[in-house]
Symmetry: D2
């Protein structure tokens, strides 16, 4: 196991850290001041400061680094620390054009997009000119079992017709969001994992209606938003289906899960490392508060079990980061399938560690920690959502156990009977 | 130990449950629709539906029941289940004129108010005509140690002059809020717990300025709000001091902690029982969701560790409720001082149980649980705040341990040495 | 809910506490010195000091108090504090003739025994002249599902013939153990809970062979022991079957589960209260050690998170005790069936609280805590076993969840739809 | 960070795994049968099978691999997986001459021993001809603060004279134990960490008396034992002091803590990796039991929260192992001092993970898991002791927090004030 960073990665880490300190963090205040749309999402605007930062990041070569196929060609182990750095500010990922769901959508297009799809959507996404959304989760079924999806994408002649309702379509409220990927049921008679397809849908297609933005702990995550979207007889040419080819644009029918699988591995590394970055930042804030506030004649750091809280947070973060690096390293060296257990493991661990550490930091900040004077409440919401998004903890634990039991079932012939030394 | 309810209490429980089902819960939707002030708190208005409900509750005799001194004269053990019932809806306590901080403020006035103070403030508070706030916590010091308070209430001639900054003054944004109780430093040379005084301050007194409303997990808790308030040379007659008497209005100087202590016991029972009500309600929602949603071919209730989550929630709630009843019973039968450890115990346990159960309910609801489609996010914010408000967990744990160690120190002479049977 | 003790119970509590201080605890050292059989269980002897203590307890009327049918006629709520007192010493229950499994066996005989069975076995058991065992758990099947039992008790003519292997037959190594209750399969074709019978088996019946004593954390629990026992064509008259009647001694066939159910309720209260007594005692030892040992210039009580550990232990014990009292009160007032969830709840909570508190006490004692210089290792073993005996935690959690979900299923018609206020 | 194993290490891992399967595990039954001294430790004998295994291991070159200074010259990262392998059997470390406290004692002698000391003690220790003990912990003081040590090692003329009482001297009951290292107070006036010295004491020196063997959860750990030892005017030449030199044998006076520090780093890696090996083995047993036992018609693995338990164990073990590898890697690349936090972190994490996983495995095995039919109870005792030995969890957490806070204190000048964006 080798988590050493390549020379290129080391240099990028140093430059990205510097960029965060010099440009991103000092811009947070203006960014949030420029966000004034409030509860009416149709009034949301992209803060000018974000576009300025994006231009700077692009010029600095700190752009699209998540994408193995682009210039930097970073391994997951190399991208991981960069993702962690961006976890320290909710606005950072967009600055570097590395925010979900655009990252996953771009990867899908790189791997499965037709030339026309790449020209039309991948190029402007990679340039940061537009944003995108991903419509999978549905309000009426338990989405922890993705095969529950009921929205339809049926082929009718040379068109594919979409119907149904999706929600938690993150980023769909962004003023720059122009396209979404819709996943729906196309082939109800096929095998369970061959029934669904992915379709590229321009946001202004007739029949697409954003019904509302969903709050998470009372915030709408302006200017991104989490949308509930209805699709009513949305008609698109077959070329809108992802995973087809020029000869047979309908070839993508039923490939939804296949495409989704490839999309999820790296995305989980990104999310987990950002969560770890958020936890690390929260621990710093916790320690600073513990050192600077005084009660009963002592700094909080010296009171009661606060030192234990700090130690436990440090140990949890260290372990979560190492586990995430292991998952990244396995993906890099043995592939997503071999890393399946590890990917599920980090998907459980990192958001749980992050919520716990952030919660501890909120507690030591007192009321201030729950307010917007500190970034903790926002980071908490992000980390808490992650325990549900991309598969809830429960589903991942189930998968980890299943793989573990399979391993034991395979080895069980070889068990020496010393385990029963007491048995006659 | 006897938690039996008096016949009066039993009848009130039944009537309050019925009132909640018939009137309060069905009104929630309109109430939240009528709240439209949003982020500009100066535009907040009292929803008409609330005043209608208040009138009905008053007419039904379900009014001011928290107050041992009023007609119902309920023991804490008898009021506890009523508080639990109101924990099921964030709007319920105001309906019954039983919401913090008005309850505590009314108790203070009943016990320590002069006749004039009672006429001017207690009467309209008990009639539900006005609301009030309590200004104790300060932004610049660790308020977990209340003796840190730095805002001043100095006597100058026949006036008391207030200066300083307070925050987390809950309810101060309410359109009906007309008065606040200010706690500040009056006698810096006195013993640590004889330095502070409480002063009644009409909200429109010159020098009182509400600077902003503080969000909790991004919500401002319209129409109550949690305010940050500055006091700049706020001048009031000595008769505004609480705890004085007609001959000597300045007699209340330095009695702040004495008065605060009496205020906290019952308030903690109320908060804890409401938190338990919130947890109980969340467990109901959790079970209903677990029974009604299907994944992998089974209702969620049958999947993975979900049954354990339900069992653990049930056990935690049962225990927290029993402990709170014990604390109430001790207050009723032996007084607040004798119940000191138990009151701190419930103050730790109930909000922690509530946050855990609500969090579990959110998790099983998936994204919906974090949104406003269910009351869970709002209940979570309430319960989470309680881990900080009225003394953070850490301070209460410290007190519990101190009392426990004192007990052992007293008994340690009597320890038989059988504990060391192996020692020669 | 009323946990008040009757005047009789109050007097017994005071007397039993005094008896423990005056007689039992001071005798512990001699008792353990007189236990010298060691690993060869066939050499075990009853320490003389135990018989002396039994005689004293009997003379003092502190005898068989567990039994509702005897003179004291204590309710479960009244017996609970007595059981807690005996939890402070591993030797105490036998002193008062209140130790498992004799208590449960006596209750079975009181309720289901024939006159002849009572004369032969109940009378000497109640006199403390003999001891008994209960043979239910089997080595070859998962005993968490009691219907798995495979040992057989088939009627052949006027005899019942036992075959099979049992283990964890506690108390079977006691020199005074003269009889055991065997539970086995009699009617494989009957309903799942009507297949098994209970049979009274004199220990010296041909075909009964104690194979070995099983260690728990390396201790054999001399002089009680946990035995593995084989039954090979053990032949007994039909009158040995429990639950028959004079006309039809075979009437007890298939009543095993029915009889077992009645046996378990009070037994769980006893075990749980003893576990709570063990926890309370361990917390005392913890506090004394924390006050008396010094490191880094301070008593341990002032170091790190030790105060939190003490506070958490106090809160856990209080809650576990209240929950157990509630279960006892429900059994007393509404019956075992109505208390089913609560009985399972305490069966999970009390042993878990006890293991945690004892473990914390061991930790603060350092190495001494793991040795025999303190009773902690022995108490830990007792509490740890309880997480498995009489139904493992997992089975009880499952039952609690099942009952909870049933409750919700019943109420779900009545759910007001305010829970979905955001849904159009 | 690079945890890759050197080619030498890879080959050793494979050979040691094979050796364990072929020789050690199959010999466990005979080993335990040959241990028959029981509670009288003076009768303990070295089982013949152990000497045979040692000879085989030595012949195979699987000998003294813990020692960086010997032939294999393994880095800590390379030795770690070997230690993990030996964690699967309580008898394995001695087979490979890699058991504590001999490993630490040998390291001390390699680094600080005089030529004469090496000839007399290091050589036979490295040959496995003798064993040794380490006498540091004392019964009368809190040993979590090592500076509490009160036993004395005063120089009188050309002798050093030892007095005092030590306990938890592991391995001192071994029939082959011939020497111990005594740590005691020599220079009470010196700086706190310059007061103590280490002295080599042949076990048969007059005045050395082994008072008893201490049980851990009722087991004496035959044939090693944990001894309580009294030292009464034990007189040795100054050349017995460790850390002196030929010119000045008294040069070692006051170097006790300096020497102890160097001793602890690698030892903690060894212990932690063995604990992880024990956890890994227990998880295997857990899974096998979960797959093979059936209740309520299903294998235990499919019941309730058992899958979650398996998943949680897998995640905990993975993280603990990675953290231990990181600590090893830091020691290898940056030295013990730089790895101080990480070493304390693993010392907390690994034993806690091990106790939790082993406890879960015991639970799923039912009563069998607590008996000696499975190695779980023995492994549990080992892991539980580790939470106290070599510094209790509490002390390590304190150190981790202290280092964390120092880090933050250093960085706090550089904190951008975006953390307070809400503050005017």
């Amino acid at each position: 196991m080798n988590f050493d960073h390549s020379p290129v990665a080391k240099e990028l880490i140093a430059r990205m850290q510097a960029f965060m300190q010099e440009h991103v963090l000092p811009a947070e205040a203006s960014y949030y001041q420029q966000l004034k749309g409030g509860s009416d999402w149709t009034q949301w605007q992209q803060p000018a400061v974000m576009e300025e930062l994006k231009a700077k990041a692009k010029a600095a070569g700190l752009w699209n680094l998540f994408l193995p196929e682009d210039g930097a060609r970073l391994a997951n182990v190399d991208y991981a620390p960069l993702a962690e750095i961006t976890g320290r500010s909710m606005m950072a990922p967009e600055v570097f054009n590395c925010n979900a769901p655009d990252t996953g959508n771009m990867e899908v297009l790189v791997k499965y997009g037709s030339e026309a799809q790449k020209q039309q959507w991948l190029k402007p996404l990679m340039n940061g000119e537009i944003r995108s959304a991903f419509c999978m989760t549905e309000p009426d079924v338990a989405s922890s079992d993705a095969t529950n999806m009921e929205a339809t994408a049926f082929v009718e002649g040379d068109e594919v017709v979409l119907n149904g309702r999706k929600w938690w379509s993150s980023g769909i409220g962004h003023p720059n969001c122009k396209v979404l990927i819709f996943m729906g049921l196309s082939a109800p008679e096929a095998d369970k994992h061959r029934q669904h397809s992915m379709v590229l849908v321009p946001l202004d297609t007739p029949g697409v209606k954003i019904e509302r933005m969903l709050p998470v702990f009372h915030t709408l995550d302006e200017p991104f938003g989490h949308g509930e979207v209805s699709f009513t007889n949305v008609r698109l040419p077959l070329s809108a289906i992802i995973g087809g080819n020029e000869q047979d644009p309908a070839h993508g029918i039923g490939r939804g899960f296949e495409i989704a699988q490839g999309r999820l591995g790296p995305g989980r590394i990104h999310h987990c490392m950002r969560a770890i970055g958020a936890a690390e930042y929260s621990l710093e804030l916790l320690c600073q508060r513990a050192l600077s506030r005084v009660a009963f004649g002592k700094p909080l750091a010296k009171l009661g079990g606060n030192a234990d809280i700090i130690a436990n947070a440090r140990m949890a973060i260290e372990q979560a980061r190492l586990l995430t690096l292991k998952a990244a390293w396995m993906m890099d060296t043995a592939g997503v399938k071999a890393a399946m257990s590890e990917i599920s493991q980090i998907k459980v661990i990192a958001p749980n560690v992050a919520t716990q550490v952030i919660d501890a930091a909120m507690q030591i900040h007192g009321g201030a920690g729950l307010s917007d004077d500190f970034p903790l409440a926002a980071l908490y919401a992000y980390a808490r959502v992650l325990r549900i998004a991309d598969g809830p903890d429960e589903v991942h634990r189930g998968l980890i156990a299943k793989l573990e039991l399979q391993k034991q079932a395979l080895q069980s012939q070889a068990i020496p009977n010393q385990a029963m030394r007491g048995q006659a």
